[in-house]
Symmetry: C2
Subunit: 435 residues, 2 copies
């Protein structure tokens, strides 16, 4: 049963301990070194041997490959134009409707974020300066397919890149289901590769004889994919290093305990290392949620790992909602639900989080799929310094300066500043522009 | 003498070769593994032993320490409030004027970039969604002081963080000169640490008994600082991994060869591994620049490493300016100077670069110091996927959703989408909100 904590000092101690490695369990740290070494080997193999390495690795790991009939002529891992169109048409009309409803909301939200960013242009005496936001040219969106194939991830990442103005968007996934392909086509992706794991990321970063490299890889993945992104960061850009999914639910006495229980389970079902915490000012609510969880777990066909509810869940009962907010800020979780009567009153006190779900009627799955905001969010306490995927993830701020011979004050200031720093050639390069 | 290449095939080959490891020489790769291992050791030492480790490392490396009279009572590496004010007042009035002129332009540019970003708020049937840009709470700006102490870097990084709304800004530098402290004070930094190298970055990331950790470290540094930032990325946010500085100058026949020569030298004087390339459509201009370089190097008191001009420089003479632009795009350099009659005509064809300097009268040092745009820029071909430091570097996009019981279409879409992905608890969490 999900454990319940009421003692303030004990709760504080638990938060401090978890401060080191976030909400996540420490078990993963043990195998990290092994993953690092294995991924490094795969990256080197792909970089040095290209397509040949990729073929060997895929055979070695028994990765599912595209049937011959679906392959592009020039690259066995790329879906042919015909297979692509067929897959996109294969899906049920109802599924298409849902994908298109979600796509419309995601597009509208991304477009609003995009429109909210404008270029800069300032005039000074004798010179002008500016800043433009320029889209990255070619991007790969990784769509995981381990436990669940996630067409929603194809929509969220590729659509956002498209709105940013990325010309060339690839979908890369260990399993190109019809739904994933359809979502990618709706989002505006132009090529699809059935490739998964660290070798997929390496291929997109370095390129091979048959695959052109990209400048950025985005999207979540398993530990190997994430480690490959970590090691290749700098060679390519990445969105973030996605860890296990997390939610903190802050619920008051009037929250519906059944709803709270299922919101916790929705988070926990992502993977065995997902985390779902409940913070409440109400012991009766907390107790009711525990009963609802027990009921749900005894009846429903949920993944077996959910039954170990003390590994993914904790309940903290605190004095008041302000305390709940304070603890939540320390945890800096990916998702926060405010299942309280007046969520607006808490919102301004929330500091570090990825996405906020306000009010009894707003569960996290609304954000996972169709409301519009992105489900690609910072985990593992990185919400302290990073945020959700937006079109800006795919834009580079580039600055420019255009001076004329009238910029004499700037010339003199640059010369003098350079001399302060002891940079002789900088001073001379400036001074030569003196009239 | 700086080598000159005219054969198109040879140039193409050179660019391809350098594609792997940017403009930079391969020598650095050899020592990379040693740096990695050494930095890892330092990070572990600081994380596990805090202040004690820091003291030991500083003694071991003979780092310059603050005189006792300047130390804060609670932390020997922090400048006391009194010493801070004294340092800021010690500088020459002329130096203060220059710092404040530069600060005003940097602030105005950062404010314009900040104002160009707006929150998002959209209303749908039964639900609202939005996006806010929230400043990171506590940031450290690393100011290098190896070859040259750089007050300009203190201004560029700390002022930009301040404009973004960061409350708590630390300046961290191996040598807190009066100029660096004055620049930090003008920019709005609140605490100053005389700490350098990988242990400085580790201290800011993990915190110690006497120093509170930050959420982000920005600013350039030597190979150890950069490697520490690389390894700590994820524990903290970072701006970018700064490599050696680079410029590509595109100059036409009417460019002043003396100006071109000194602009190249200004880039090359940063460090022995800096790079400065000239691309021109004019052989006479290229030849004149070589003569000017020889003249400058024989007369001036420039760093000795500049005399090895074939290590930092190359001149490519091409058919026309379009070819120059194409080569420049492949190099994706940090700085580009367009020393041509009509720089506007080339601007739209420029793709991958950090900052652009347009026209004969705009040398890079204008951007290094006082024009307003930031001098913290992507190196090592990372301009393909990242850009200059702006206030947005210090902001996190945080999304929110607020649904009411009227959001029935969203409920049904989320439920159906979840079932498509096989996520039972997601579907149930959504469906519970059905009326």
């Amino acid at each position: 049963m999900i454990p319940l904590y009421q003692d303030a000092a004990e709760i504080e101690r638990m938060i401090q301990v978890s401060d080191d490695d976030s909400l996540a369990s420490d078990d993963r740290a043990l195998s990290r070194a092994a993953v690092e070494a294995r991924v490094l080997g795969i990256l080197q193999e792909v970089q040095s041997q290209g397509d040949a390495a990729l073929g060997k690795i895929i055979t070695r790991l028994s990765d599912p490959v595209l049937p011959e009939s679906k392959r592009d002529k020039t690259c066995p891992w790329r879906l042919s134009k015909e297979a692509l169109q067929e897959a996109a048409q294969n899906i049920e009309p109802e599924t298409r409707d849902i994908l298109e409803y979600a796509a419309a909301n995601i597009r509208q939200f991304a477009e609003a974020a995009m429109a909210s960013v404008q270029p800069v242009h300032l005039s000074h005496e004798g010179f002008e300066v500016g800043l433009n936001w320029t889209a990255i040219e070619r991007v790969a969106c990784y769509v995981p397919a381990g436990r669940f194939p996630l067409p929603s991830t194809a929509l969220m990442t590729a659509m956002t890149a498209k709105v940013a103005g990325v010309c060339d968007i690839c979908i890369v996934s260990p399993k190109l289901t019809d739904e994933v392909v359809a979502a990618g086509v709706i989002a505006g992706a132009s090529s699809f590769y059935q490739l998964g794991g660290a070798h997929a990321v390496a291929t997109m970063a370095y390129g091979t004889e048959s695959i052109r490299p990209v400048s950025m890889v985005v999207g979540p993945g398993n530990a190997y994919v994430t480690e490959a992104k970590r090691q290749l960061q700098g060679v390519i850009g990445i969105d973030m290093l996605a860890g296990p999914s997390e939610v903190v639910i802050i619920a008051d006495k009037d929250a519906n305990p059944e709803w709270v229980a299922w919101d916790l389970l929705a988070q926990a079902e992502h993977s065995p290392d997902a985390c779902a915490y409940l913070l409440s000012d109400s012991l009766p609510l907390a107790e009711s949620v525990r009963l609802e969880l027990a009921k749900a777990l005894s009846q429903e066909a949920l993944p077996e790992y959910l039954r170990a509810s003390d590994s993914w869940g904790k309940i903290f009962v605190l004095q008041n909602l302000q305390q709940c907010v304070a603890i939540c800020n320390q945890l800096a979780p990916e998702h926060v639900e405010l299942l309280v009567a007046t969520p607006e009153a808490l919102k301004d006190h929330m500091k570090d989080y990825g996405a906020l779900f306000m009010g009894y009627h707003t569960p996290v799955p609304f954000g996972d799929y169709a409301a519009g905001p992105n489900h690609t969010l910072p985990t593992n306490r990185s919400a302290r310094f990073s945020g959700t995927l937006t079109p800006l993830t795919f834009l580079r701020p580039q600055s420019w300066i255009h001076a004329t011979s009238a910029a004499q004050k700037l010339v003199r200031a640059s010369e003098a500043f350079a001399l302060t720093e002891g940079l002789i050639a900088h001073a001379r390069s400036s001074a030569l522009r003196l009239k």
